[in-house]
Symmetry: D2
Subunit: 302 residues, 4 copies
């Protein structure tokens, strides 16, 4: 029997690229975590060890840093598109490139009511993400941009219930009319196109829609909150083809204070670590565009 190389990719992961724009005294900072990978026919590299077709991961790293200057970073998406194209250009054996970027936000430190020119505090909280895939294996080259955010921890202290669920002999859960709903949201959306999108504006607006919809939607379940959030994004953003969520239900259990004669009417909770519910869902346009390889190796969404 013969063995063959199946799906594969290789690259340099987690290049911590920090770019300072210092053309004026008022600096700007972009703080990225960049991972690149190439797919293709790298059979020789695997089977015989011949590396003649392999652009080393070290070279991918060098390019990621050089492009921070040569191409610049106006948005994670624009930078990732440029980087991925470059890797295809110089690697004949590659049929596809994949560039993943995480961006950490920084705020200017406030001094006397004014943001400082060159002193910053990292915002913390959620991380902006993009995964850009460019494929030339078929007749027509294709490219996809899947952007999003992760680690956005949100909570509603009321306006959430969970009841009317299926029961079996292992059911012990009580129905809840009023509970805390909390999650550490991961959302990723696929853009219909890679041209003509204002990446930064789209990101900011979609983030706002997600937060506002979460806040204002009465929740029958986390699934239903997510679906409402996704629908609101598709409704307001024609440039988005579909949106996917991965949302741990971060349980906050009401603590039983009755043994101590203390009432607890939704006031004292224990935030639990594990286990946690995990809800994963996609909201799509009916008859929407083909996703192709857009979601291939997107962490948590394939």
């Amino acid at each position: 029997m013969t063995f063959v190389l199946g799906p594969n990719q290789y690259g340099k992961a987690e290049n911590r690229v920090v770019r300072i724009y210092r053309d004026t005294a008022r600096h700007e900072i972009r703080d990225l975590n960049v991972s690149s990978a190439l797919r293709g026919d790298f059979t020789d590299a695997h089977v015989t060890g011949d590396q003649a077709n392999v652009l080393p991961t070290d070279t991918q790293k060098n390019t990621a840093f050089a492009f921070a200057k040569q191409h610049g970073i106006t948005s994670p998406e624009d930078y990732a598109l440029a980087l991925g194209s470059r890797f295809l250009d110089v690697t004949p054996a590659a049929t596809a490139s994949r560039v993943e970027v995480e961006e950490y936000a920084w705020d200017r430190i406030d001094v006397g009511g004014q943001g400082h020119d060159h002193a910053f505090a990292r915002r913390g909280g959620e991380v902006r993400t993009t995964v850009v895939t460019q494929d030339r294996s078929g007749d027509t080259p294709r490219q996809w941009v899947v952007s999003g955010l992760k680690d956005l921890v949100i909570l509603k202290s009321t306006g959430s219930e969970f009841k009317g669920f299926l029961q079996d002999e292992y059911t012990t859960l009580q129905e809840a009319d009023d509970r805390i709903l909390a999650t550490s949201l991961v959302a990723r959306w696929r853009y219909e196109t890679t041209e003509g999108v204002d990446w930064n504006k789209s990101f900011d607006d979609i983030r706002t829609v997600l937060l506002e919809t979460f806040a204002t939607t009465y929740s029958h379940a986390l699934q239903q909150s997510l679906y409402a959030m996704g629908s609101a994004v598709l409704e307001s953003h024609p440039e988005v083809a579909e949106i996917k969520f991965s949302a741990p239900n971060k349980h906050h259990f009401l603590v039983d204070l009755s043994p101590f004669g203390v009432e607890n009417d939704g006031e004292v909770f224990i935030a639990a670590d594990r286990p946690y519910g995990l809800i994963e869902a996609t909201v799509q346009r009916e008859g929407g565009s083909d996703a192709g390889d857009a979601w291939l190796t997107v962490p948590g969404f394939c």
Copy 2:
């Protein structure tokens, strides 16, 4: 325009199930991290918030713990198969179940040359894994077992080179005749069948083949080491249909001691954190069986 629910799944993640077998004075321990999920037509739960079709994640948790006793845990695979079947049985709306298990190994504490009856030390190092998927959406129900290990940190202090690679204008890497090769291996393999396999024996033997092949293969690149390891597994284990690897190249850079007049001929290295090469590869049987949904939502491998 109308929006629709796309691919989705939900369940309880990371149930930390510890099962003690204490039928004799010589106890046994199985220490698992269990995550279950259901897929199917859960449109109502998402769109209207009606949970009538939803087996709560809390119930999935209860079942995971109850089955640790009622079904028992002879292997992660056997336990996961039973649990996944159960969830399909009691959830008509579900078309598929997915049960993922991580197992942490414990060794008996040695007392005077003998393993103690009921005192254990956690082995540390790698974690055994399985992802079992059962699908009844088509005409014929199907089930897949993808088992493996993760966090197996291995290193060769010689017998590894990297040269003859593709060059471009961003190349600065020097060719290496003798370097450290190290990775934190994740390997997952799909079994051809879910019946008649001795899960524990297969796991132990495959682990041995992986380690021995890594040790004894002269490495032209991490890709080639992985391919050799995968081929050796397929060669010796007909019950394995294919094997996939995700292997960070944990760089150990030779430290330049020449400014201090100190020679460093492969003796002093700095172990780097980020960035790291990341090699992902599959070794398959030529004309092998269809993987179906076996790899769907397998972390790092889809």
Copy 3:
């Protein structure tokens, strides 16, 4: 030879207490991580195993949750003082109590320009801390409050140098006239008193002083920035007896782009993980008050 019990403490660590104030439709949230411990003569518990003097950690946990309602949480410090007193009251063998609190901040989700009544997003970034120690081992009971923050990641993209340092034969570092200075700040300060302090206001103001001083101080070294920050706090806050810092120098190395013919004049950096400089310093009032056991078992500061 005889062995004796030396310094010891025990308690319940990391109670994740979430308190919702819902007296009006506009909810408030306090999100704490609470750890309590008792010190004293617990010789029997250790030597013979007799637990008659031991208030179980489980009871400490129950009390932490009950007090979230019964005493309430207006500030971490006020809550910790109450909790620590309680434990001393009910545990005759204890000579001292220690309560450590971390607080995670939440912001209201903005909906149409207004903060929502009951929907919140976790702020991320730094964590507010306090360690409250109450000791009755001596003639006069004493209590200390050490408050602070951790994980405040701050960066200056210019206005920082490092030169004129001591040299030896292992020196390779070049002097730097203009570099990035970045740290993940941990600061803890001891209050002179435990009464009459507006804990929330003090915290907010000190945080502002730290940030503003970091931003506006030209830095000759991280040590000097910290000293300036500490002095500014002592200058403006008579209620603070002393302040301690633990500050990793999060190195951002200028990337050498010259092999590619690309200039890099302070624009492209790699953010390194390890190793990192670690600077620890105290700024005190000359002839200041005795710290007693205030810093005993304060993580990173003893």
Copy 4:
């Protein structure tokens, strides 16, 4: 009012030093995480920013790597003593040095029943530690070695009880006659002397004593197990002056399966994350030697 510099130290943390001994075909590996720090009168560096007395952390890093070759690594303790002495020799302003080392163990990969010459698997599990302090601030120079281990996860599935404890109105805990006892042990012991100790042998033997005593001691409480373990070490190791423990009580709660009609007689547990009991204790020789600054800034033990 004047402010002054209080206790301070600075250095390079987490140098990941890997040393391969390759004098014969049978290689040896030492894998260390090295952190060094200097204490002393560094007032100028803090107050005026003058770095003339400061041996840069970068130089400390260089020295750590160079000494891996020049001095060699026969044990963490021996290497740390040499490194700390060197830093004092070349830094006149320093009154004390502190070198902390963590060591990760590797096993040879077994090939056909024989350990391979140059292929290794990281053992995982516990980490060996040492903190070496050398002080010349007083009339007589002093040095201390505090060695130990951390992250040793151990468990007894029976032979552990907890009862007879103090009760108050917040008590809900039931007495337990037979429970799981588990911890992730951190133990650190101070050696009486820094000369004439066989560091590797002492470490191995003390580790064995700790494990055997844990296994064979019937436990009335984690405190009592720790005290027994510490006493056994002092009993058998005259070179040890005192030993300290930090031991989270990793709770394994019996799962209530009675709602499902399933008995659970100590067979099915849930391993909880937070909160956890945290037990910290010291066992000393009566009238033992003065610890001086041995424990100063030892993580978790001061």
